[in-house]
Structures are given as structure tokens and as C-alpha cells.
Amino acid sequence: MSNTPQTLFDKIWDNHVVKRQEGYPDVVFIDRHFIHEVTSPQAFDGLRKRGAKVFNVNRTTATADHNVPTKDQHLPIREALSRHQVEKLRENCKEFGIELYDLLHPFQGIVHVIGPELGITQPGMTIVCGDSHTSTHGAFGNVAFGIGTSEVEQVLTTQCIIQSKPKKMLIEVNGTLEKGVTAKDLILYIIAKISAAGATGYFVEYAGEAIRNLTMEGRMTVCNMSIEMGARGGMIAPDEVTFAYLKGRRFAPQGEEFDRKVEAWKELKTDEGAQFDKVLTFDAADIKPMITYGTNPGMGIGVTDHVPTLEEIPTTEQPSFEKSLNYMGLKPGESLLGKAIDYVFIGSCTNARIEDLREVAEFVKGKQKASGIEVWIVPGSNQVAEQARAEGLDKVFEGAGFELRGPGCSACLGMNEDKVPAGKYAVSTSNRNFEGRQGPGARTLLVSPLTAAVAAVTGKVGDVRELV
């Protein structure tokens, strides 16, 4: 080993390189591969065509999440193409011997929610999945990134991926977050500052007091949205918060083995003096509750701010800006505070964990859903749903007129029936506000679970700081 100070990213990546040669991308060994119904069928076809087996079924975990219904999950899936895709996943997992957490299985849920909650996701790993939000797993100090289906096939066949090593970025967030300002606001703020392409080509490490003070679930929310600024992935060095979260989880090491692992995991940090290609520093005190107004996650503002005026946008970017506002039915310079909304979606791999549901329940307790709007609460997994019921959160939601549904990706991408109608405004705790993302013509305003809770009970965009 050289004595040159190394970043955490370099340590984990270099430690997994099976082959590095001039002119070639690295061949990187993958510790953990998650698969789901949408991006895997063509990869399995590739294996069949070659007569190949899965390299190591014990390193592969499957679940159905992207297109599954969130109501009546015990019944056959009504939509024929979705049903076919889920059945294909069952057949493929059976044929190749991969464990599948199917609908109704107690471990089923959104792939990036179940990996951590089951303790499959552990520090120091390389993790991939045919889904861009695989960056979520970086919250445990992992190199985790989304891949395409051809790459899913590479990993299934050889447990390796051919990949050029990204550059490294450090994002430090110092200070403390104001009350009512959450992990979601923190990451939406960073993306708004650096744009939806601000970290393309980079792997990000998040550090600083505000990051350290986040819970594991908050850290997952931050790492989850790394892709929304273009980053290849995002990571946070593991610490006592990480170890406490993992202790006792289903597939985490147990007993003395766990203690031994913790000693090794404590070494997983960026060395003093290690070089990053880019360093950005933010102050947590500058962050307000955030909301997006446009059609990419970089188009975000504080809830009390106004949509930029045309003059505030560089000339070359004005046509795209105007196209975006036209889609959203908003005007340059407009304030979103007090704007009436139609739907509230609390769910997705960004914000559908138990802490998110607790936060929403605590706020809505004793309050009622605003009239004329719909509120969907879609838990990240069956385990989250079960925990919510055990804590009586379902009763709180029911009392408020909300509905706690079955787990899945749901209205985050509208592959199942959970779509927002054209022209309607959806306040959403998900990760993308692209045109048509939540349904053709749907208009998405991305927010934190707390800000979504405010919208659910008032029917409007509001400043949660005035209410907590």
C-alpha cells in the first residue's frame, strides 16, 4: 500500500478492481446486485442465449417494485403487461436460482428500501442495480450506482462490470439545519445550487456537521438524489449512527462477527489530506424548506422564494426554461406559497421509510385532509407498512382521511395505476419532476415529507417552519 492519502471512494473502488489495463475501463467486482422486474428480463435472455449461469446467486437479490399495484396486492395484477413482467421475473428467478421477495412476501418493497432495512447493504461494498437510485446505498459508505440492462447482464454473468472510474467530488455541509428543514431540503438545495448536471462525471462524498447529524434514513435520502445532479453516486463514511442502524438486522453480521466487522468498517473513511477533483462547501443555516417549480430537480427554490424571472436566467437557457414553466403552468417571478394543489404523494425510494411516515403522522395527528385533494401514502416496503401499523400510524392517516397502501414505486414514475392526471399539481416526496413523470401531463412539485404533510392538510403549498 502506498502512503498517499486516499479518499473513501478510491479505497473501495480500487479494492474491487479485478483488472486494470491501459486504454480499458476498469473491471470492477460487484459485492451485491439488486434486480427488479423492469430492467432485468432482457439480461436474463442474454444469459439463456449464451447458456450462462448466474455467477453467484448469493450475491443477487430480487424484488418486484416498479410496476406493481399498491392496492389489492393479493389479487392477480390486472394490467396485462405489468403482470407479464412480474411473472417473467418469477420465472427467471426460479430458473436461475435467485431469491425473490415477491408481492406479499414480508421482505418485499422498493429495492433501495429493502436492501438497507434487511442489512444486506453493508459498509465498504460495491453495489449495483438496474436503477439510477442505487446511489441510496452509498449512505452506508458504499460505492453504489445505477446501471443499464446490458450491465445487469454483465454482473449476472460474471459478477463484474466494465466501468471507467469517475472523478471525485467532496460536498461539505457545515452547521445545523433549522427546525422543519430536513435531509430532503438539504439535497434539493444542493441540486438547485449546482444544477441537474452539476455533478455529472463525479462520484460524490458528503461530509460535514449537517451530514453527520442526519439519521441513517436522512442520509439515504441525500445519497438517493445524488443522481439528480448527475453524479455517478454519492456516499457518506460510516460511523456510530451507521453501526447502530445495522446492528441486529436480518442479514447483517451477528454477535462477535458484527463487532469484528465494525472494527473494520471504522477504517472506511477519507484520509486527512486526500485529494478530490472538486470540493463544494455549503452552510446548513442557508437552507430553507425547498420546492421545485420546473421539470428537472435542479429547478428548485425555497418555499418562500419566487420562481426566477426571465432576466435571472442566462439567455441561452431561456427557451428550455420557458418550455418548462409552460408545462408547469407557472409564470416567471411567481411565488408558490399558497398555491392550491390537487394531489399529495408520500412515497418512493427517496422518502417512504418509517421515519418519513412518522414525521408525517406526527404533523397530521388530529388534523384533516384538505377537501378536494387526494393523498396517497405508499410505504417503501412491507416491513415499513407493518411497523407503521404497529405504531398506530395507519390510524392517524385514516383519521386524517389518507390511505396507507401496499408498497411499491407507485406514483413516483407512474408505471402502475397510480398516475396523476394531466394538468394537475402533485406535491410529491419523490425524486423527479420530469415532464410526464407521474403521468402524462402531470405537474410535480418535489418537497420533503413535512412540506407534503402541510400540503395534505391545507391543500396548498406552505412554509412548514410556521407550523412546527
Partner: protein
């Protein structure tokens, strides 16, 4: 016959919009197929068709002028968002072999290279010039030469582009990543065995 990319001279379809995400290239509701074929029909579905499935006449792919285009020229930061390889499949299936932009999202770049769609990254200035050339003459022929890593406009203006030498070799010869990885199997097994 194995598919390859070497040199292409073609008309180009202009899409001067920035930050085009893969949800626009192929919306999620069209990701339910379990094969790689047929995605071209739904390429840019919601920009290309109205809710009643009638074509939007002002969208570039519905303009017969650009029918022969095998090059797509798009605004900065093309292919952001979802990792869906279906986006690359849709572009390829529609008939494009090259996308020219001044910036590409990482996952989309990988996915295109794995599907014989060549992402050609040029400067903002060269991109602006390319759009201007197409606006002046929609039938302008643009040449993309992979071997020499060069794009040339009809007036002879040319610029170089980058590509990883390994990926270039794969595209020019129709080589497959998985064949290469399988050839490393003993090394991969040894690596796995060395992991604690």
C-alpha cells in the same frame, strides 16, 4: 452479421432542447416489454404524439424533411435521469446511430455505447454551429468518423471527440463486453476467493 460503427454521413435531426431526460426519450409506461425490440415507435412519445395518439406536427420526428436522418443533434446534458437502457434501445430502434450533444449524462453514455449508438460530445460552440447549419439547410450532410474521432460539417468545419479506446474498438469491430469479461473468469474467481 455483427453490428459495427465506423463512418457515417447523414442528415441530422435537430432537437435544440437542454436537459432531455430519459423519461422523455421513452416514458415509463412503455418500459413493460421484456424484449429489446420495438421501442422506436415510442421514442419521444409524449413530445411526438398527442394524448389521442395523433402526431404533433411541429415535432421534428414528425417532419418528413428529416426522415432520412440517422444522427440526432440535441441540447446540452442529454440523457439525464433514469438508468433505463430502453432509452438507448428506442433511439437505436428508431434508426439513429449517433447522438451529438455538448454534454451527456453518465449512465446514458454507457448504455448507448453498449447498443451501437455513438454519443459524440462537442463544445457548446460547435453544437450551436451544428444547429445553425441544419437550420440553414435541413438536408445538410454531417460526417461522423469514429476511427479518426472527428465530426465534420458540410463547410469542412471539423472537431474531434473523445471515446475510450476499448469502447471504440468494441464499436468498430462489434465486440461484446461480456465476451471480454468471460475471458477473465479465472481472474474473477480468484478475486472472489480472496475476499474475506
Amino acid at each position: 452479421m455483427k453490428e459495427t460503427i465506423t463512418t457515417l454521413t447523414s442528415q441530422a435531426a435537430p432537437l435544440p432542447i437542454e436537459n432531455i431526460d430519459t423519461d422523455q426519450i421513452i416514458p415509463a409506461r412503455f418500459l413493460k416489454a421484456t424484449t429489446r425490440e420495438g421501442f422506436g415507435d415510442n421514442l419521444f412519445r409524449d413530445w411526438r404524439y398527442n394524448a389521442d395518439d395523433t402526431p404533433k406536427t411541429d415535432f421534428v420526428l414528425n417532419d418528413p424533411t428529416y426522415k432520412a436522418a440517422r444522427i440526432l443533434v440535441a441540447g446540452k446534458n442529454f440523457g439525464m435521469g433514469s438508468s433505463r437502457e430502453h432509452a438507448a434501445w428506442a433511439i437505436h430502434d428508431y434508426g439513429f446511430s449517433v447522438v451529438i450533444s455538448s454534454f451527456f449524462a453518465d449512465i446514458f453514455r454507457n448504455n448507448s455505447l453498449n447498443n451501437f449508438v455513438l454519443p459524440v460530445q462537442v463544445s457548446d460552440e460547435f453544437l450551436a454551429k451544428t444547429f445553425a447549419v441544419i437550420e440553414a439547410d435541413p438536408y445538410a450532410q454531417i460526417t461522423v468518423d469514429l476511427e479518426n474521432q472527428q465530426v465534420t460539417l458540410p463547410d469542412g468545419t471539423a472537431t474531434a471527440f473523445d471515446i475510450n479506446p476499448y469502447k471504440k474498438n468494441c464499436l468498430m469491430n462489434g465486440y461484446d463486453d461480456i465476451d471480454y469479461l468471460i475471458s477473465l473468469r479465472p481472474e474473477i474467481e480468484a478475486f472472489q476467493a480472496s475476499q474475506v
